[in-house]
Symmetry: D3
Subunit: 131 residues, 6 copies
């Protein structure tokens, strides 16, 4: 990442440090991954993105591990190598087993296949699905 | 769907009927949705796709409702209207609440956003994520 | 298509008519489909796009029917309803049989599935494929 | 691919070896590429994916080289580096010439362009394409 | 949109009304479009999404019309009909001329084409672009 | 890029050199980037692509820097690493500041998010957007 300087904690502004501190406290970790160090070039986006993720990924009607697996499903569909690597690691940390990962991949693969069969065959939406 | 004749049960071959019967028995329903009626124009693809989906979507390390929500995540990312409508209906039938749907959408939206921030900022994969 | 006026032959400029005439002559048909009538709002893009398509879709190392099927594969992957409908019709006109269409769809579906299995499992490119 | 152990033939279970043997026999080759070694972590997906690909990519109404080129068209559209590298190599092995590859790329590029012109101009599907 | 009730102003909670009021005041308009009425089923997402968009789309280093055109470029690439229609209308309201729209479409189409030529030809990133 | 020989100026045909010369003259630079050296394997595509880009990216109703940023928006959405790197470098050369880049990324990220919220909530297009 040559064009975008990675912002390290020691050189960060107070505003950026506050976000870094909250990321580490929330995630109970002592390091910051490259995604946030890149966004830190734009403190407004760093803060907004972190606040949104913190709110969205918190426990709720879906538990955080399920949310991480949904994140992987999207990242794999979009072919984003960084996102696949980082969210697969996060899901592992939250308890994703090999068996869960394998089933996740099977569903993601199948959905990408049938999405195209549905569009290629120009299938019309059933009335029952409109209710 | 003008070009691909929808294959109704009453006019279907024995091979196609056998798949339709298995779909209805497995799903405990008495109708077949348009996706399968379109695929029935190609009995080999109908059978292979159904057998794969039946195996993949069965209870396992992930429960069927979680799998339906992963299916929705992929379909929404790919912008497939038929798939979004049909799998949202299926997830509702399997117990997806409004709260679960809202959190699902929030995660899918966020993942699609950060996938692009990661690629746009050309973020390099952290060594920690390679282990 | 409310915002973009469809440019009919009778109201078209000489520049647009010349492209329309060439489309009809090349395709041995007596009508212009909506795609071109929309592009005609921007004669430079109309001409450039038509000249490119005419050159690219002509017989060469691949025959025109194969090219139409490749066009369908891309359009289905991208979920473009207009493009799926128009290129499926064109491929039919050029001799695509039901059996060919079914096999095309099967390959497109499978490729979309394995594309995601490859990225989700973070598979490294074999040395053999680099030669 | 750090998180997913690559399953080599010598350490594989009998179930996995049976699939590997069939892949090598069908393809008349003596090695297994990384894609299958990754999927082998989940023998059910390995078997299902191989059986599907073997059936779909066999000679039929379309010949295997055409099918490989359709596979490339999808993989390029989805930006999957592994899939592009592996299927381009396969297509070369099946006889794809430079001229064929160049025309394939030209069609894939053009289709990706006009897919967006069609959606951006909000072009309505012609009645003629609905028949 | 059958499954997700559209939340009208008169039936909205105070929390939702506050967002609706801010949308109308910010945009100097007296109606709310369907996107927000759908999100209103999940007030947390409604608020978070509106606050983010309000911040991001405000005048800054790029003017609001340029931002709307970038929004169109993404929506067209993703094939999202709702987003194409709504952001094209917004851009028109902010002064996008026909000539600007035509050039926007030409660039979006071309970028989608060359994105695939670059990946299909497996082009390596030049050292100069890494600085 | 093993399979596609990179065509250097000194070994290029007169036809390819003519395009290379025009690229360097138009861009006021003394080198050719890898994208063109790859396309040069197919002189017809090299020429057509360059002529189209030269026409499309020239100053018009939108200035060249805005066009480069639209190119980045598409490339980031499609996850094309080569295109992101090359067009980000070009935009920098044309005057894109850090602040402009940050806002561009924020809009691209947001658009990718709301594109999915719109489709996932199955939002119907407002009548107002159809005029």
């Amino acid at each position: 990442m040559a064009m975008h300087q990675s912002v390290e904690y020691t050189e960060a502004s107070a505003e950026v440090r506050a976000v870094y501190d909250d990321i580490m406290a929330t995630r109970k970790t002592d390091w910051i991954n490259n995604f946030w160090k890149a966004l830190a070039n734009d403190p407004a986006t760093l803060r907004r993105t972190w606040e949104s993720i913190k709110q969205i990924m918190a426990p709720g009607a879906l538990d955080p591990l399920i949310k991480e697996m949904i994140y992987i499903a999207v990242s794999v569909t979009n072919q984003c190598p960084y996102c696949i690597a980082s969210h697969t690691a996060s899901a592992r940390n939250k308890g994703m087993t090999d068996a869960m990962f394998h089933e996740l991949m099977a569903v993601v693969g199948m959905a990408n296949e049938t999405n195209r069969l549905a569009s290629g065959y120009q299938v019309e939406i059933d009335e029952q699905f409109k209710q």
